[in-house]
């Protein structure tokens, strides 16, 4: 099992993932060169027909029924073979290790295989297929968050080697965590600070301002706004946010799920067409598992294209240098032509 270790100065937690741990020799130059993630379908453990090459599935969508761990699925969820966090019934406790504090890496680490196809990513999935992916996120969110020793479920997708993807077949990952991630807690605290000062939700204010100004808007539909944030950390950083005040992403209605799928499709296909399949990370920031419906938060999806390298200044200062303006990025993405979206099942 991995271990969470806390920095005694900054209080930041780090996961030392012993299941994934590499021997020091594996970082030498000879071992660093040349690894590629592009694999033919014949060798890919996520392609249809290769179900026996993953751990047994946790869930799958099979519209025509059929046996588990056999072909016939649209979306398939399996445990990560090298988990960063591991399911357990034990309580998640902070323990002392000398002057330091540690926790066992209790949680979850699941892989959502987005489709049987080796090449259908978020930008190219058909409308019904993307909807099934979103419904699968929600189903796994609910299963994992029911566990009392789990505080958060982080839903992410890494696209491309430069964004950290180690397998080419499009997939998302779900990380169950025994703590609320600091990046989410920081936003919850920011919402409270703004509410105290003005009585309003800071995200609702941003939506109002951005819709009125329009210069950083990429796309919008009735329910969601897609925009490049004013303080974008990276070139083409984008957010998808519900236009109504909503704390829990898994509470979307069926119609809102369809709107969300549309927004995800619009953003990812514009990036892919406009920039030539750029590497990117995306993740959903939503309420913690046991927060209850009244938590003052506003869920959203953040997408970070990985077109630049964060160097010593960024690591040392905590200040990102963005070499592109969000206004220019939004204008560029607004103008990308997106073709017809397939409604085939």
């Amino acid at each position: 099992m991995s271990q969470l270790r806390q920095d005694p100065v900054t209080c930041q937690w780090v996961a030392i993932a012993t299941e994934r741990a590499k021997r020091p020799m594996s970082f030498m130059r000879s071992a660093r060169a040349g690894a590629s993630i592009t694999q033919p379908d014949a060798e890919c453990p996520f392609c249809a027909g290769h179900e026996s090459e993953t751990p047994p599935e946790l869930m799958a969508i099979r519209p025509s029924g059929g046996e588990a761990n056999r072909p016939g699925w649209l979306v398939r969820v399996v445990p990560n073979l090298f988990p960063a966090f591991t399911p357990s019934n034990a309580p998640a406790l902070v323990k002392e290790q000398g002057i330091y504090q540690v926790m066992d890496g209790i949680g979850a680490h699941e892989v959502v295989i987005l489709s049987p196809s080796h090449t259908a990513d978020l930008g190219t999935l058909s409308q019904p297929s993307l909807l099934v992916v979103i419904q699968t996120y929600i189903a796994r969110y609910q299963v994992n968050c029911a566990r009392s020793n789990l505080q958060y479920l982080m839903i992410i997708s890494n696209n491309g080697k430069e964004a950290g993807a180690s397998l080419a077949h499009p997939h998302s990952q779900l990380f169950g965590l025994p703590i609320i991630p600091p990046a989410v807690q920081c936003e919850i605290d920011g919402v409270a600070r703004y509410r105290d000062a003005s009585g309003r939700c800071v995200y609702c204010e941003i939506i109002r301002f951005e819709v009125a100004s329009g210069e950083r808007v990429v796309y919008s539909n009735d329910d969601f706004l897609v925009y490049c944030p004013f303080a974008s950390r990276l070139p083409f950083e984008s957010s998808i946010i519900p236009r109504w005040h909503a704390s829990h992403f898994e509470a979307m209605s069926d119609a809102q799920q369809r709107s969300f799928a549309d927004a995800v499709h619009q953003l990812t296909s514009r990036l892919s067409h406009g920039l030539g399949d750029p590497p990117y990370n995306l993740y959903i920031h939503t309420a913690p598992c046991h927060a209850g419906p009244d938590i003052d938060y506003h869920w959203h999806l953040e997408l970070l294209p990985r077109l630049t390298i964060q160097a010593g200044f960024e690591w040392g200062s905590g200040i990102m240098i963005n070499t592109s303006t969000p206004e220019a990025a939004a204008e560029f993405l607004r103008d990308v032509e997106v073709g017809e979206w397939s409604t085939a099942g």
Copy 2:
């Protein structure tokens, strides 16, 4: 001039560096492929004899005297051609832009060319040359920090393309900032929190614990400890810290500067020999410019090898997953044989 923009939720500042700004088209796939930083000496603006290819120098060490912007220097400091922050006499003020807050990117952005040689990096510089580099850092720190509209001077080095270096010739960069960087403020706050709780300096406690345990120690001399932090964020993350409680790096005595140079040499040459010239970022965390001698802080250097990619989980959560233990990293680096250190001038 660049602009600092504050995220209204997280309060994080981002620099939108308009001087360095790239047009959206420059991020397209065709433009992303193939850029390399390895340049022959004949084309390198930082090599001796190419002084006219940089902006006029701000400072240089010429032991035998000689004209500015001519060969004969050991270390040379020039303005960055595409500055992220720009010198100005104007006060650094927070301004409103709609619902957002911004500041002009007032500051400094200087390049320290470490030696006339295209290949002599921190790990291979001779003893006298490395000492001159450290003395140059201190001299520029003092010049820049004398300015009232500057709060911090961040000293960094990026080594290798994967660590963000855009020119191969070894160099450091100095970033003058109109704000205290959040990463430094977080540590100052952490020192205060620990002092309030225990009466002791958290860094002094770490030094005591690590020296006694030894399992994360890479190297030590009379004045400095080189170790892999307990909560290392990245494989082979390392710190160099003064063994006495000291807040200001520029206040080192001559003898301490020599000890610091020895520690830097030991760490960077062990990494280079052991891992085959790995890409890395390093930076110095020291007291803010106008903090005064009584600030409760403990300066140090942090070095981050860039052997892994931070992906969606890390960006979305703020929790790093480290696939190697600092205990294994320290053991590996302890065992690397470092040859004789050249004392030639």
